[in-house]
C-alpha cells in the first residue's frame, strides 16, 4: 500500500516536472519562431520604408526637374503664358467604359436609365 503511494507520488511528481519542462521548451521554441518572424517582418517594414523613400525621391521636384529637362525626353516646357491643351485618349478611360457597360446591362435588365457621368472639362 505504502509502495503504491510512493510510486503514485513519484509518477505525479515526474508528470508535473515533464509538463513544466514541456511548456518551457515550447516557450523557447516559440521564442525562436517569433524571432525568425520578427526578422522577416522587420525586413519587410524596412523594404517598405525604402520603397516609400524612393517614391518620395522620384516624385520630388528636383528629380522631376532633372528628368524633364534631360535631353532623352521629348518634353517641352511651355513658355510663359503659353496655353497647354491636355488630350485624353478615350480608350485610356477604362473605368468610364466599364461604367457605361454596367449601365447598359442594368438598362436592359431593369429598364433603368443611364446615371449621370462626369466629363473632363477639356475633352
Amino acid at each position: 500500500m505504502r509502495t503504491a503511494r510512493v510510486i503514485c507520488a513519484i509518477f505525479l511528481f515526474t508528470f508535473g516536472s515533464l509538463l513544466y519542462v514541456h511548456q518551457q521548451t515550447r516557450i523557447v521554441s516559440l521564442a525562436y519562431l517569433s524571432g525568425k518572424k520578427q526578422v522577416v517582418l522587420k525586413e519587410l517594414l524596412d523594404a517598405n520604408n525604402i520603397l516609400r523613400y524612393n517614391m518620395n525621391v522620384i516624385s520630388s521636384l528636383p528629380y522631376l526637374d532633372k528628368k524633364i529637362l534631360s535631353k532623352d525626353l521629348s518634353f517641352e516646357i511651355p513658355r510663359e503664358q503659353q496655353l497647354v491643351r491636355f488630350n485624353y485618349a478615350r480608350q485610356d478611360l477604362g473605368i468610364s467604359q466599364e461604367l457605361k457597360k454596367r449601365n447598359t446591362l442594368l438598362g436592359v435588365l431593369f429598364g433603368a436609365g443611364k446615371q449621370a457621368e462626369a466629363k473632363t472639362l477639356n475633352h
Binding site: 521564442a31 525562436y32 524571432g35 522587420k42 523613400y53 503664358q81 503659353q82 496655353l83 497647354v84 488630350n87
Partner: protein, 574 residues
C-alpha cells in the same frame, strides 16, 4: 572478531560519508551565502544581455506636411577579423565590391580584434553585393540612416546629421533636443549557443523623436532655388542667396544659397559650401539700404515725396569725398531720388534727418543685431553708432556703405515696409509634433519692433512701386500684378580698404502684390559678371519667383494673365 571489524569499518565508512557530506554542505553553504551574488551575476551575464533600443529621429516636414528629412534602416558591415581565414582574398573582394581603398581594408581586417566596422550605412545595392560574397567573418547590423528625398533642396536650412544621427548643422542641429528622442532598452535571454531568444525580461521602449513642421514650402523653395541657380550660373557669381518671406508673419517660405550641396552626401561638401551665407555673412548692401533713409525721412516728416532735391548733376563733394551718381541728375523729387537711386539726393535727404535719427531707424529696422532666426550661426551684422561715424559717414551710410547687413536682415526690413511697419521675428519652424501627430509646441508670429507707422509704410511702398514702374527696377515688373522693390549695386571692399571697381554685390528686395503684399523676396548675387547691376542680375529673379509663387498661392488668378492670339497659336498640344 569479524563482526567487530565489520562494525568498525561500517563506522569508518559512515564517518567518511558524514565528513564528505559536511564538506559538501560547507561548500554549498559557502556558495549560497558568500558567493551568491557573484555567481548569480555570472549566470545572468551568460543568459541575459542588454540591448539599447535606438529611437527613431523625428521627421522634418514642410508646411504642407511633405517629408523633407526622414529615416530608413540600412545595413552596416562589420567584420570579425579572427574568423576570416583568407584575409588577403577578403581585402581584394571587399575592395572590388565596395570600391574602398585596399590599404584601408587591410588596416582593419588585419587587426587583432573580434569586431571592427568595415563600412557603415551602406546602400541596398552595395549591401546586396557583399551578402552575395557569402564570406565567413562578415556580418551586418541594421542602423538608421537620415535621408533627404529632395537632395540639395533647402540644404543650408535643413542641415544634416553625423554617423551617430546627431544634428550637426542647420535645423537638424538647432532642434536636436526635439528630434533626437530618447533611447530605450531591453534585456533578452539567450541560449547556450548565445543565440538571442525573443523573450524580453525587461523592456523600456524608446521614445521616438518629435517631428518638425516647417514654415518652408517645398514648391516655393524649389521655385526660388531654380531661379537663383539660373542667375548664379548665368552671371558666374561667386555666391548667391535668396529669401522668400511672408511679411505678415515673419515665416520664411524659402531660403537658399548657392553653391549648394546634396544633403545625402553632406560629408563630401567643402565647409565653405555648407555655410549659410544668408545669415552668416555680412556685406555692404548699397542702394537697397535707401529704404531705411526713405522711411526715416518720411516718418520724421523731414521730407515728402514731392519735395525737390538738387542732385548736383552727378558730382557732389562732401567733406573730403566726392559722391557720384550712376546717371547725372539735376533737380529730382524725393520720389524720383529713390526711383533713380540717386546717391547724392539720398545723402542730402539724410543730412536733413541727421545721424542720430538715421541711426535710430537703422536699429529699429533690425540692422546691427541678429534677427533671432531658429538657425545656428546667425551674425549681428554691423551698424556703428553715430559717435563712431567719420565726417563722410552721413553721405555713405544712407546709401548702404559703412554698414554690414545679412540677407536675412534685408528680408526682414523690406517685410516691415510691406506689412505696415512692423518688424517681425523670422522663423522656420511652425510646429513640433509628437510621433502620433499631436502638436506639442507651436510657434507664433512675434513682433520685434514697431518701425514706422502704417501710413509711412504705405507711402514708402508707393515709392518702391515707382522704382519698378519707372526706376531702376523695371526688369522686376510683372504683367497683371503691381509689385514694388529696390535695386542695389554695392562695390566690394578690397583688402587694402579701397572700393573695388570690378567686384560688386548686386541685390534686389521687393514685395508683391503692392496693394496687399503676401510675399517679400530678397535676392543677392555676390560678384556677378559681366553684368553686375542689381536691377539687371537680381530683378529678373524676383520677377520669375514672384510670378510662379503668386500663381502657386493662387494670389494671381489666371484671368489676370493676358493671353494673346499668338500665344494661343503656339499652344502645345499634349
Amino acid at each position: 572478531m569479524y563482526i567487530k571489524d565489520y562494525s568498525r569499518r561500517l563506522g569508518a565508512v559512515f564517518f567518511i560519508f558524514i565528513f564528505l557530506l559536511l564538506l559538501v554542505s560547507a561548500r554549498l553553504f559557502y556558495i549560497q551565502f558568500f558567493k551568491y551574488s557573484y555567481l548569480k551575476n555570472l549566470a545572468k551575464k551568460q543568459h541575459e544581455f542588454l540591448v539599447e533600443l535606438e529611437p527613431r529621429r523625428g521627421t522634418i516636414y514642410d508646411r504642407k506636411l511633405r517629408p523633407q528629412a526622414l529615416n530608413i534602416a540600412v545595413d552596416s558591415l562589420f567584420a570579425d577579423p579572427k574568423s576570416i581565414k583568407n584575409k588577403e582574398s577578403a581585402v581584394q573582394q571587399l575592395s572590388a565590391v565596395l570600391r574602398l581603398d585596399p590599404a584601408y581594408l587591410k588596416n582593419r581586417i588585419y587587426r587583432d580584434k573580434s569586431f571592427i566596422w568595415i563600412a557603415r550605412k551602406l546602400g541596398s545595392e552595395e549591401a546586396g553585393r557583399v551578402k552575395a560574397l557569402n564570406m565567413k567573418g562578415l556580418g551586418f547590423i541594421k542602423e538608421s540612416k537620415r535621408c533627404y528625398p529632395n537632395g540639395y533642396l533647402a540644404s543650408h536650412t535643413m542641415g544634416f546629421v553625423g554617423l551617430d544621427n546627431s544634428g550637426l548643422e542647420g535645423l537638424e542641429s538647432h532642434y536636436e533636443q526635439y528630434l533626437k528622442g530618447e533611447p530605450g532598452w531591453a534585456v533578452f535571454l539567450r541560449d547556450a549557443r548565445q543565440k538571442k531568444l525573443d523573450l524580453p525580461e525587461g523592456l523600456v521602449l524608446p521614445k521616438d523623436g518629435n517631428s518638425l513642421v516647417l514654415t518652408i514650402d517645398e514648391v516655393i523653395q524649389y521655385i526660388a532655388e531654380r531661379e537663383l541657380d539660373n542667375a548664379f550660373r548665368t552671371f558666374h557669381a561667386k555666391q548667391a542667396s535668396i529669401i522668400v518671406m511672408d511679411p505678415r508673419t515673419g515665416q520664411v517660405l524659402a531660403l537658399a544659397n548657392r553653391p549648394a550641396y546634396d544633403l545625402n552626401e553632406a560629408g563630401k561638401a567643402e565647409p565653405a559650401v555648407r555655410k549659410n551665407h544668408a545669415i552668416c555673412d555680412l556685406f555692404e548692401p548699397g542702394s537697397v539700404f535707401k529704404i531705411v533713409t526713405a522711411s526715416a525721412a518720411i516718418e520724421e516728416g523731414r521730407v515728402n515725396e514731392n519735395d525737390r532735391v538738387f542732385c548736383e548733376n552727378g558730382n557732389y563733394r562732401q567733406s573730403n569725398r566726392i559722391l557720384h551718381d550712376h546717371t547725372a541728375h539735376g533737380w529730382l523729387t524725393f520720389r524720383e531720388v529713390i526711383e533713380q537711386s540717386s546717391n547724392i539726393g539720398t545723402s542730402k535727404v539724410a543730412q536733413k534727418i541727421g545721424p542720430d535719427v538715421l541711426y535710430k531707424y537703422i536699429k529699429l529696422f533690425g540692422f546691427g543685431s541678429s534677427r533671432g532666426i531658429d538657425l545656428p550661426g546667425e551674425i549681428n551684422g554691423m551698424a556703428k553708432p553715430p559717435k563712431l561715424w567719420s565726417s563722410t559717414s552721413i553721405g555713405a551710410i544712407p546709401m548702404g556703405q559703412e554698414v554690414g547687413v545679412t540677407v536675412l536682415q534685408l528680408s526682414c526690413a523690406i517685410s516691415a515696409i510691406a506689412n505696415g511697419g512692423l518688424l517681425m521675428k523670422p522663423y522656420l519652424v511652425k510646429q513640433v509634433q509628437d510621433m502620433n501627430g499631436e502638436v506639442i509646441k507651436e510657434f507664433f508670429p512675434q513682433v520685434s519692433n514697431k518701425v514706422i507707422s502704417p501710413e509711412t509704410a504705405q507711402r514708402v511702398r508707393a515709392i518702391l512701386t515707382g522704382v519698378v514702374e519707372d526706376g531702376t527696377g523695371k526688369l522686376a515688373a510683372i504683367q497683371g500684378v503691381k509689385v514694388g522693390g529696390k535695386t542695389g549695386t554695392a562695390q566690394k571692399l578690397e583688402p587694402d580698404g579701397r572700393y573695388s571697381h570690378n567686384k560688386f554685390v548686386g541685390s534686389f528686395i521687393g514685395f508683391a502684390p503692392a496693394e496687399n503684399p503676401v510675399i517679400t523676396v530678397c535676392v543677392v548675387l555676390d560678384e556677378p559678371h559681366p553684368s553686375y547691376y542689381g536691377g539687371v542680375v537680381c530683378a529678373p529673379v524676383f520677377k520669375k519667383v514672384v510670378t510662379d509663387v503668386l500663381n502657386y498661392l493662387e494670389v494671381m488668378p489666371l484671368d489676370k494673365v493676358v493671353y494673346s492670339a499668338e500665344m494661343a497659336a503656339n499652344a502645345v498640344g499634349r
